[in-house]
């Protein structure tokens, strides 16, 4: 157990639901509110590390409350709890600024896992929680400079070309593994891509691998093919960006 307990704010108008969440999350420092307005007041008095937010509430609903918080640059994880479960709803909530989406009914272990993952230190450095879409810079120039202390220009280029070739093979392997639903192998490969990309200065690719890896670790398997296709096109865009930069330098 960490020395300092993380604080979770539970926002739900239904007393039974609040009690259930409080029991499930008893290992955390808990505060609660009955609607959006109360949640804002509660949050102003006692800041939280994470908010669990019901959507349908009187006075001020969860969506509105979340937007008020995001407008104030509150960047902690805010997780929506709703009875909706369609993929369109999920995308809508995430696009509006929620960090994640929990559909009822909620088994205790799911709640603990998702909350625990969002509060893990790794997660906090990986995710950008603001309502703006994450916008990572393509390359980490510090890392590339560092590498060039040890490698000649040609060695560096050769290394990156090998990295791109190897990553393309990894991406094809993930395609094959997706057909077999072998998510644990996919997580391992994404982890490798994340580390390799970071070590070679492919910052954006590394961050996107981390996000996809985190999703799978949270057992968000639905939509994986779509997410992976998007990831792949981003990866290929990064490879192209590298080539463009090389050509520019060669001119």
């Amino acid at each position: 157990m960490p020395a300092l307990k993380k604080r979770v704010l539970i926002v739900d108008d239904n007393a039974v639901n609040r009690k259930y969440l409080k029991t499930v999350l008893k290992d955390y420092d808990l505060t609660e509110a009955e609607n959006g307005i109360e949640a804002l007041e509660q949050f102003n008095t006692t800041a939280a590390d994470l908010i669990l937010m019901d959507i349908q509430m009187p006075v001020m609903d969860g969506m509105e409350c979340m937007k008020v918080l995001r407008d104030k640059n509150v960047s902690i994880p805010i997780l929506a709890i709703t009875a909706f479960s369609g993929n369109e709803d999920r995308d809508k909530f995430i696009n509006e600024g929620f960090s994640d989406f929990l559909a009822k009914p909620l088994p205790p272990n799911t709640i603990r896992t998702v909350v625990g993952n969002w509060l893990s230190p790794d997660k906090q450095t990986l995710q950008v929680y603001t309502n703006k879409k994450p916008d990572y810079s393509e390359f980490d120039l510090d890392i590339i400079e560092d590498l060039k202390k040890y490698l000649t220009e040609n060695e560096y280029k050769k290394l990156v070309v090998d990295f791109i070739d190897e990553t393309k093979i990894f991406l094809n392997n993930i395609d094959l593994l997706t057909n077999k639903d072998d998510f644990s192998s996919i997580i391992r490969i994404l982890h490798t891509i994340k580390g390799n990309a970071a070590s070679l200065g492919f910052y954006r690719l590394s961050k996107l691998s981390a996000v996809l890896e985190a999703k799978l670790k949270n057992e968000q398997f639905q939509n994986f093919s779509d997410n992976f296709e998007a990831f792949k096109s981003n990866a290929y865009a990064s490879f192209e960006a590298f080539k463009t930069q090389l050509n520019r330098n060669d001119d």
């Binding site: 060695e155 990295f163 982890h191 070590s199 070679l200």
Partner: protein, 126 residues
Amino acid sequence: MTNDSYKKVLVAEDSSVIQNLLKKILLFENCKITSAKDGQKVLDIFEKEDFDLIIMDINLPHVDGLEATRIIRASNSKNANIPIIGISGNAKNLPESDFIDAGMNDYMQKPLNYDKLIELVKKYTN
């Protein structure tokens, strides 16, 4: 076979790109690198050859880096106490104690800081 002028380093890393990178960088420290792509190969090679240092990725197929380290430490080999530096893609997810409890001497997180790597290699091979 043994030549005292260079250090023998076993690099356990499943990506050949990172292996090549480490090879190039460790040339500066006059290291001769042997590569292994999974934890089981590390154990096989460790049994047959003497090394000065092992650099071990955590995220290895078959036998992971922590497990391979535990097996080496528990072995009867005369090299059971060889210095082992762990490399992790997400050290933040694992508490430091996991690396040390497994028996690693030190660890680094990706993205690798190459200066620190050289420093650690020096520290454990001199």
